[in-house]
């Protein structure tokens, strides 16, 4: 009823005028500008009006940045997989348990979201640095004789990001698993499916959109994360986000910074598009 409004109705635009203008000026326009700048040349740290594809060519040919690009995707995929694998048992447990601590356990699983990723990564810094807790404990236990260099490293970045993005995967999977009627599992077992078969043939297919969603979410946030790679990585383990920061604030080559940002946008959107298609396919089954 409320939707049955004539097409010529200007009311929604009147209602939403201010926020729409705000978003256009402070989100739409800047991003459109960013896209344009990525096709302009920067000379002597100044933008020129010259149109060029050099920025993109540079990114995809210069070894440092090509490596950063590949490392970013490697980190993204690793974090995505790690988070889905870690989140699945947790989400399944939280959805199915009858424990009276359930509310508290859910809160505990999501509480890390309240802390900035800087703070959460800082915990890993405390653990992983050369004079950190991990080395202290291993020395104390006698596992190692010499202090190990655990960071900066790509592995440290992956662990740190997987840790800080885990709650998102848990949330997504809880949503998907919570939608699965527990009677379905009972029905499958009553029809003779073992616990394992039931899991593989009933729970997994139904949870698939959630698994994909959790992966996509972790992946897309991971590839654009700055703080964790900056803290747990170093000059030898650059990712796109740290490289962009470098271009924007130190090298002052905004064109290449913008081009890299565009690459990030495109990868991110492409992934969401693929996810939407995968989601549509699973939903149509």
């Amino acid at each position: 009823m409320s939707k049955a409004v004539s097409l010529q109705d200007r009311r929604p635009w009147l209602i939403a005028f201010l926020p729409a203008v705000f978003l256009f000026v402070f989100f739409g326009l800047p991003n459109a500008m960013l896209l344009s700048i990525s096709f302009l040349k920067t000379e002597a740290q100044q933008l020129t009006g010259e149109l060029t594809l050099d920025n993109y060519v540079f990114l995809f040919t210069e070894q440092t940045y090509l490596e950063a690009l590949l490392r970013t995707f490697f980190v993204g995929v690793s974090v995505g997989i790690l988070d889905v694998v870690l989140a699945f048992p947790l989400a399944y447990f939280l959805v199915r348990t009858n424990s009276r601590w359930r509310g508290l356990l859910i809160a505990l699983a999501l509480a890390p979201l309240l802390a900035s990723v800087v703070v959460r990564t800082y915990g890993w810094y405390v653990i992983l640095n050369r004079f950190g807790v991990a080395n202290d404990v291993m020395l104390w236990l006698g596992v190692i004789e010499q202090r190990l260099t655990l960071m900066p490293s790509t592995g440290a970045i992956i662990i740190g990001l997987a840790h800080s993005l885990l709650p998102y995967a848990v949330l997504t999977l809880m949503g998907a698993l919570g939608g699965i009627n527990p009677s379905l599992e009972k029905a499958a077992m009553s029809l003779g499916a073992s616990r394992f078969r039931c899991f593989v043939e009933v729970v997994l297919p139904l949870a698939l959109p959630g698994l994909i969603g959790g992966f996509i979410l972790s992946f897309s946030v991971a590839i654009s994360a700055y703080a964790t790679p900056a803290i747990l990585g170093g000059p030898a383990t650059q990712v796109m986000a740290t490289a962009i920061y470098g271009f924007m604030t130190q090298l002052l080559d905004w064109s290449i910074g913008a081009a890299m940002a565009v690459v990030l946008i495109v990868s991110s959107l492409l992934l969401f598009y693929l996810a939407a298609r995968a989601g549509a396919r699973t939903a149509s089954l």
Partner: protein, 272 residues
């Protein structure tokens, strides 16, 4: 039945315990380290001291903390305020350009905040608005990236509002405005509050956007910590970290007490 259940379920419990340990250990260790007596991250701590906590409350840290709180508070108020008319237009009407408006609204959720930060820096520079870099630019950017959260929570409330409720009010003689004020807004109040809380948290924990829009003296606590980390480690940071962790927690607990925030938890998404 229950006999058969025991073993897989227990295995699951062990796995769940391990995941919780992974999740919470770094945070707990940070808290413990902040009590260290020496300027080292020794674990187990050698000697207890509140010295680093004292340092954490010096102006060097309190100033950016207060700046962060101000910034987040403004985002928490402005985001739901702007989201409200936007959500009404998107949920209640079909109109030409609705898809475009939808994309513009949810865009900040899809595009990395880092990119929006870069874009805003270039935008303010290009427009000759360099003077705005700092608090005003940060507010603009934070509201833009927090808006979608508020739109989402308000949309959830608005779509669960039974249509008959507004019809009932109309049948009882309430005009459109009175129905809005007395039925619709009170009904979606929790969605608005939840949107504000999400905006606050998202803004308070943001680093990716803020990174590009700060100026000396006008930087949120996350950027300050980030900058400090480049020079190395100090237990002060552990103390500061604990403080920034506890503040939003307190806020959420208060709001959860006052309203039923739990319903909106399933909607969250943020950037790392």
């Amino acid at each position: 039945m229950s006999f058969l259940r025991v073993s897989p379920w227990s295995a699951l419990k062990i796995a769940v315990g391990a995941v919780y340990a992974f999740m919470l250990t770094p945070i707990l260790i940070t808290a413990v380290v902040s009590l260290n007596a020496t300027n080292r991250s020794l674990f187990p701590p050698q000697g207890l001291s509140l010295r680093w906590w004292g340092e954490a409350f010096s102006p060097e840290w309190v100033d950016p903390l207060i700046f962060s709180l101000k910034l987040s508070a403004v985002s928490a108020v402005l985001s739901p305020l702007m989201a409200l008319p936007l959500t009404f237009a998107l949920v209640r009407y079909t109109f030409p350009g609705r898809q475009a408006l939808m994309a513009l609204t949810l865009g900040p959720l899809l595009l990395p905040a880092l990119v929006t930060g870069v874009a805003l820096l270039q935008f303010f520079d290009f427009m000759g608005w360099r003077a705005w870099i700092g608090f005003p630019a940060l507010v603009a950017g934070h509201v833009a990236i927090c808006l979608p959260f508020a739109v989402r929570t308000i949309a959830i409330s608005l779509t669960t509002l039974p249509p008959n409720l507004e019809l009932a009010a109309a049948s009882l003689g309430a005009s459109k405005l009175r129905t809005l004020m007395e039925i619709t807004l009170p009904y979606i109040k929790n969605g608005i509050v939840a949107g504000g809380v999400f905006a606050f948290i998202h803004s308070f924990t943001d680093i990716n956007l803020s990174l590009f829009l700060v100026r000396p003296g006008e930087q949120p606590i996350t950027v300050k910590i980030m900058g400090f980390l480049e020079y190395g480690f100090a237990p002060t940071l552990a103390a500061v970290s604990v403080i920034t962790l506890v503040l939003p927690l307190i806020l959420v607990l208060i709001v959860e007490r006052l309203t039923g925030l739990g319903n909106f938890i399933y909607g969250g998404r943020g950037n790392g």
